[in-house]
Symmetry: C2
Subunit: 128 residues, 2 copies
């Protein structure tokens, strides 16, 4: 891996859009807010360098007010929080994830919805 023009362009587009109404979104100011050097951000935006570490990508998403998972996806990275969730129940989760291989994204979202309702009603049970 070396450089990700799609990620870089995305950041630049979003940053420049915000810069039109907010002077705090110059390359230098944004870099500082993210916690990286202007040098590094420049290289990233022009696609010369790889995207930064996951925590920096998450900070970028916050500042640009977009979904962090989407941005992480473009960077071809996985949120460390997710690997942490896997590490909490390694075998069961590994089993589950491999089972979802054949599933469409829609089916997965449907499943998540169903699950969320179940978890919520479980919490209700505990309260009543």
């Amino acid at each position: 891996m070396s450089g990700n023009p799609v990620f870089g362009q995305r950041i630049r587009d979003l940053r420049e859009a915000r810069k039109r109404t907010d002077p705090n979104f110059s390359l230098r100011k944004f870099a500082k807010a993210v916690g990286i050097s202007p040098t590094f951000l420049s290289k990233i935006e022009t696609g010369e360098f790889d995207p930064p570490a996951a925590d920096k990508i998450i900070r970028m998403a916050e500042l640009l007010e977009i979904d962090a998972d989407e941005l992480l996806a473009i960077a071809e990275k996985v949120d460390p929080e997710l690997t942490e969730i896997i590490r909490e129940r390694p075998v069961a989760m590994a089993d589950f994830l491999r089972t979802t291989r054949g599933m469409s994204a829609e089916k997965l979202q449907e499943l998540t919805e169903r699950l969320r309702r179940e978890v919520e009603s479980e919490e209700d049970d505990r309260q009543s």
Copy 2:
């Protein structure tokens, strides 16, 4: 991170057990079969070095005939295959995983079972 005595001891115990009936499980021979140097394996088993890369751990599990996910779990690593699965549907999967945070391992296994049946019946539908 530096050294994982639990992982090391586990490998040593399993390897020595196998060595009692199979001379191919000496430290040197096992290291060679795994694809690492005897030096490295020695350091790992005594807990002086971190566990090796995920692919080497998976190879160890194969040779020792135990569950790779369990061994990866002890090493506090995640099978790259799993992060690959996440990267295939990043947003939906992130959403799902965070939803399972509150769930017990049993509930998760139950869910996987249910899901497996659903996926199978979908495949049946396509065939008929």
